[in-house]
Symmetry: C2
Subunit: 126 residues, 2 copies
Amino acid sequence: MFQRYSRQREVVYGILSATDTHPTAEWIYFEAKKVLPNISLATVYRNLRELVAADMAKVVLTKDAKEHFDADVSQHCHFVCESCGKVFDVKTKFDQSAQGVEEEGFVVEKCDVVFFGKCNNCSEIH
Amino acid sequence: MFQRYSRQREVVYGILSATDTHPTAEWIYFEAKKVLPNISLATVYRNLRELVAADMAKVVLTKDAKEHFDADVSQHCHFVCESCGKVFDVKTKFDQSAQGVEEEGFVVEKCDVVFFGKCNNCSEIH
DNA sequence: ATTATAATGATAATCATTATCAATAAGGAT
DNA sequence: ATCCTTATTGATAATGATTATCATTATAAT
């Protein structure tokens, strides 16, 4: 997969795996620039794509027209707040094999579960 | 919501609600042109957006960088075949209230469940 | 140290979707 | 039925996220 080491990839993956905020490529780009001022946005996108292909990250689609990334590749659900746009991990486990989808003739490899609504903070404020 | 009748909206909604293939805006556009040769792609996009806002349709995100539309607004899951790209309805019911997400402080309004893998047809062929 | 080539940085290209705006048409008032 | 207001359309430009291109740089094997 990765044939050579690169400092840029190390930094991108380091930033992504150190946060649970499900950032966009652009956010990671600005964070990465603090460490490597010359890093290119293209390099960030390229490495994120490769990390996803290598199963070291996954994409969360939130309906804000941007891809969000997550270095936690374990099976877990997400919650998207429609007020503030933040993406949260949902602790509640979701057993996809218990859903009975295979019985309908589908070979299931993965499953995305995304809840939408208001987060704790936004529902308090109104 | 809709202040005036429009033949274009009627046709777009008619096409969408007559299929279970979860089409893209472009596909609906080509179908609509068979009935209204002068319809504009912008009109299709506009009406789809308004139908979604009016809860008469919803968007299915499949990772192919295109929005897919569904006139079935009842709570149901989708299956996306990573071989042929087709989007299927999953008959198995998914009880989002049984997931225990509310207990984590989230106010859940809706939920998208998308399974990925191989459809019946594609897994037979290999 | 040399060398092959993977990976980068800069930027152009792509492509789905949205915005703009003049022209058209729905539908209530006259 | 005609007039009038303005919602909606059609055509197209703009937007914005992501990807492709390509010359340059840097990894790591020889």
